[in-house]
Symmetry: C2
Subunit: 140 residues, 2 copies
């Protein structure tokens, strides 16, 4: 069983068994959640999107601790990128930074990125996230 699944099931189990939301929150607080706000040079919109989706795809597929790398761009301005990143914990994030797919992405896109801001977020309701997973799994 993956570490991610253990984390998610762990949170659910603690909440179900003990009814103690405090304990569940202690585990949820390990999550690293953030929104990357990136502006891309208009000349490289397509190349950047290709490099980013390749990296996001590999990260979620190969790294158990990468829960989400969900890339978007604004409909009205394709140069404005937003990425919702969720890691199981700080160690998973640090390990991600050393992965070959991340290092390749970083090297490839360096010249395409005009600005980058990483905004640390706090998930108000990780229950919402586990529910999405549970809904899909239960319906199978």
């Amino acid at each position: 069983m993956s570490r991610l699944l253990k984390t998610v099931l762990g949170v659910l189990a603690v909440m179900a068994m003990s009814g103690n939301r405090g304990e569940a929150l202690a585990q949820e607080d390990a999550l690293v959640v953030r929104i990357a706000e990136i502006e891309v040079d208009a000349r490289f919109v397509k190349e950047y999107a290709a490099a980013l989706t390749e990296e996001a795809d590999a990260s979620v597929r190969l790294e158990p601790g990468v829960i989400s790398i969900f890339p978007m761009h604004q409909k009205e301005r394709a140069t404005l990128i937003r990425i919702l990143e969720i890691y199981a914990d700080r160690a998973a994030y640090e390990s991600h930074l050393m992965s070959p797919h991340f290092l390749k992405y970083k090297a490839t896109t360096l010249k395409m990125v005009k600005s980058l801001r990483l905004v640390e977020m706090h998930a108000l309701d990780t229950n919402a996230m586990t529910q999405i997973f549970a809904k899909l799994s239960d319906s199978r």
Copy 2:
């Protein structure tokens, strides 16, 4: 089987069977994806978070077409809220706007919200989303 699951499995099936990414993208394009950027009056941070998580929880649980209502606040400024919203299609979003939990949330929080901006997004890689679901389901 829920409509959401059908959508997700549909995308996966089209991609697996035909290898035709164009067809899969046609379905993905039905998705409504956006980031709500909200600033809350500092006096109401706690009440607002409670109302929002209750609404997010009910929406994902009760509405098959609501794929994600994932609420966050900035770690450094708890008054700055971001919500990643994903709906299966425009009809699912419009039905959500008429749901009792959404109308209750809207009425309760009207006086707490200083500003609200809804930024329409395009998901660069919905494959990343289906992978997250698939990873969890497969490990069970």
